[in-house]
Subunit: 481 residues, 2 copies
């Protein structure tokens, strides 16, 4: 095909024209190093010339080491010949827009303390992979792929894999949610769920109310969307309801974003009565609530506490974003949004703009795993596992740290405030002794939280918990000196 640009003239011998043409194509880089040339037979046929002309041209080029031949394989372009033209240098840095700058600046991974050997890291709240039931997962894969492998590996639907969607609707209804006026869409985890909602329903400058402190990734997503983030202080039982009302009253608020169960970072569970007043407050000002289902599966109670969305009954003022990523297979990135039917219809089109749909393979395998019933058993095991860790860590904290206050009552992490201590300074000292945690300021919307810190417990052993917390306690005493 590259030879279709060769138009013969009547002045030069044909073999020479072929030779020069190949030379110039090699020089400009259009014929690639080690790329295969057509055989002399093919080329003579293609160009409608005598085969001898091609053979002569190839022989001359081979003499000049521009091409080489491997017997039985063909003729190839010799490497390292293309001319060094002026390199095109684009200043990508100058072209980054506000979104790109903010995404980079707020990317905590980019500004992380470097990993070192034997580090005890209390940063993670991702699940302990050792809990995953690999044999069941393999079984789920093989079952589902045998049933409809070709379907799962080809393009699917933007809303998601129907059996999984139905499973999740049913699952959410067991939480007391009325689902018949609602619909669901599968997303690549919680992050994409929030991102999609903000993409379609907010404009730069819009207000969004959230708990302060709150989930740092959520803050980042709101920031890159240019939202005006309005934080409401946290009391021991959740948001300050009077402050909430005064901020709702001030207007310009498009959404509320709340994490009612084992709130990140404080670990606070918003009690049923509080959920009711918070729900009614947002309803009064007609500001829809985005409910982050974070850690909800870890709630371990005899009397089930229902999501805020359950209070909305046939209403459509609450949007629920769910994900199992904090307990199950976060690597496959499957989450969901549950909400008003028409809203989901809009998000379906948004999803098609973002990435067409979430992996159907992952959705199929997750569905198979969930429906097998192993999930119930798994959740119970997981609850027990993290509860033990939590209680053990709490005990260590009381022994070694004695913080000014500990919020919350469980989950995968512990949040505490320390009197008169800068947690960044503490972190620096701890890092020298091979212990790290997340300083509180990353969770706040107003650069407060400087005396707070979060310990993520999911990826550290009991032994490490004890050792690490002891070291934090020692460094804390150092700070006080």
């Amino acid at each position: 095909m590259i030879f279709s640009g060769l138009n013969f003239n009547d002045e030069e011998p044909v073999y020479l024209q072929i030779e020069n043409y190949i030379k110039s194509m090699v020089k400009s880089g259009m014929l690639v190093s080690n790329g295969k040339l057509p055989s002399s037979r093919e080329l003579s046929k293609l160009l409608e010339i005598s085969r001898n002309c091609v053979i002569t041209a190839y022989e001359n080029l081979e003499d000049k080491k521009i091409i080489y031949t491997i017997k039985g394989k063909g003729t190839f372009i010799s490497p390292g010949q293309s001319s060094d033209i002026d390199e095109w240098k684009v200043s990508w840095d100058e072209r980054i827009n506000t979104y790109g700058h903010l995404a980079y600046e707020l990317d905590i991974v980019k500004h992380e303390i470097p990993w070192k050997k034997n580090l005890i890291s209390f940063k993670s709240i991702s699940p302990d992979g050792e809990l995953f039931d690999m044999e069941e997962f393999k079984k789920a894969f093989l079952n589902r792929i045998s049933l409809e492998g070709h379907k799962l590996l080809n393009y699917g639907y933007a809303k998601g894999y129907k059996p999984l969607m139905d499973f999740l609707l049913e699952y959410m209804s067991t939480k007391g949610i009325k689902t018949d006026n609602k619909d669901t869409i599968i997303t690549n985890g919680f992050t994409e769920g929030l991102e999609m909602l903000l993409t379609a329903y907010t404009n730069p400058g819009d207000g969004i109310i959230c708990e302060n402190p709150t989930h740092n990734t959520a803050i980042k997503i709101m920031r890159v969307h240019g939202l005006n983030i309005v934080g409401v202080s946290m009391k021991q039982d959740g948001v300050d309801i009077n402050e909430l009302e005064s901020k709702l009253k001030s207007g310009g608020i498009k959404f509320g974003y709340l994490i009612p169960s084992y709130h990140n970072p404080t670990g606070i569970i918003m009690k049923a009565e509080k959920r009711y007043s918070v729900y009614n407050m947002f309803k009064k000002y007609n500001v829809p609530i985005i409910e982050d289902g974070f850690n909800e599966e870890l709630l371990y109670n005899s009397a089930q506490i229902s999501p805020i969305m359950a209070l909305d009954k046939g209403g459509n003022g609450v949007v629920y974003i769910g994900s199992f990523s904090k307990i199950l297979f976060p690597g496959i990135r499957v989450g969901w949004i549950l909400g008003d039917r028409k809203m989901i219809e809009t998000l379906e089109s948004v999803k098609r703009c973002k990435n067409i749909h979430t992996s159907f393979l992952d959705q199929g395998v997750l569905y198979e795993y969930l429906k097998s019933g192993d999930f119930e058993k798994y959740i119970k095991r997981t609850r027990k596992f993290y509860k033990e860790k939590y209680e053990f860590a709490l005990n260590c904290i009381e022994r070694f740290i004695k913080p000014a206050s500990i919020f919350g009552e469980g989950g995968m992490h512990i949040y505490m405030e320390l009197e008169g201590i800068d947690s960044r300074e503490l972190l620096e000292k701890c890092y020298k002794k091979n212990v790290i945690f997340t300083p509180g300021d990353v969770f706040t919307v107003d650069n407060t939280g400087k005396n707070a810190l979060r310990l993520g417990l999911s990826r550290v052993s009991l032994e490490e918990i004890e050792k690490g917390i002891k070291i934090i306690g020692e460094c804390l005493n150092d700070c006080k000196k």
Copy 2:
């Protein structure tokens, strides 16, 4: 936990206070239908009251059918009791922003002709799933999951799964691309690749040059980002180079977007010489090129034609977006961006804002499949398969349609222009006879292409191709009457 809101007064009997508390919790919906209550023993312990009070309260509630007991299992809330409060109705439609509106409006799936039985659809250009090698895929899954299942199922890295990234860098270098000043990031398919780039490097109102017609999803993504889309007409060998220059000269252009191989929709392959002039033109005006690797794997030539990016050598003016989705496993949504190292670093943070990372399970399995060597064999089989279809369809078109012009020379689709025919009108007639295709206007940026249509061949059998094209020919004659 729901009972922590119960504060006893001294006026009423304790059992009555418990009874009333549970009643109000049920009514407000905070105690969920069929939710389990703590046992009388647990609750008395929790509230530090006599167990008899709890038993009395439960008995009274059971009499009133507010709760029910299953022997050996426990006490539960009876269904269907919560009060019907005023429903909260949010007008989601009024809250949709421009992005949301455009995403919906430009979503061709939302405005599609309804499917019916026995329809011959020439709309799809997604791969024929029957070609997928399921046994090899299963093997790849089992191998990879045995090696590092826990790792693949837990959180991974935003840039991607390292072995897959390395594989792709090596793969791209065999296409003649100098990769040592470049880096790659894994995306959820081509769509997300383009979306991420535009998110971080364009602002509403910026100009973007593309071939006209071009890939309809790309047009949609540019539109929702508020870009000023500047189309350049296509000649039989690709973009009109003079028009390209005059549009670059006019200024305000942030990017060029090009599909050099089996261009969608026209099927044109940009020849090596043309690639060179197009590359130099963009370089002259310092406007980076986004090269869509679409269909590149289907190029079947003895002399390899290299991507435009290969001409950029050590430069950084070309960004390549790749995906195997048109030939292999589109359901798993894995694509990649190859480009300037610092640019990829920015996109890494953007990816973390969008959805943290692409499924590590999918990346791991795809890597295992690709490195097994089956991919090479698969591509060869695929090329042959689609080439046969293409040639067969071309023959049918010559027999039954005789279009004014056919562009391109291969791939999974055929694009043609018909003289004096409105392709939407033709589509209406064909639909009545159970044949559909994509009308040309969806691919244009200026509402032209009304006399054109695209036939996607990948999902129709030879028999259907012949039958379908014959019907299109008949309807065409009807239109001319």
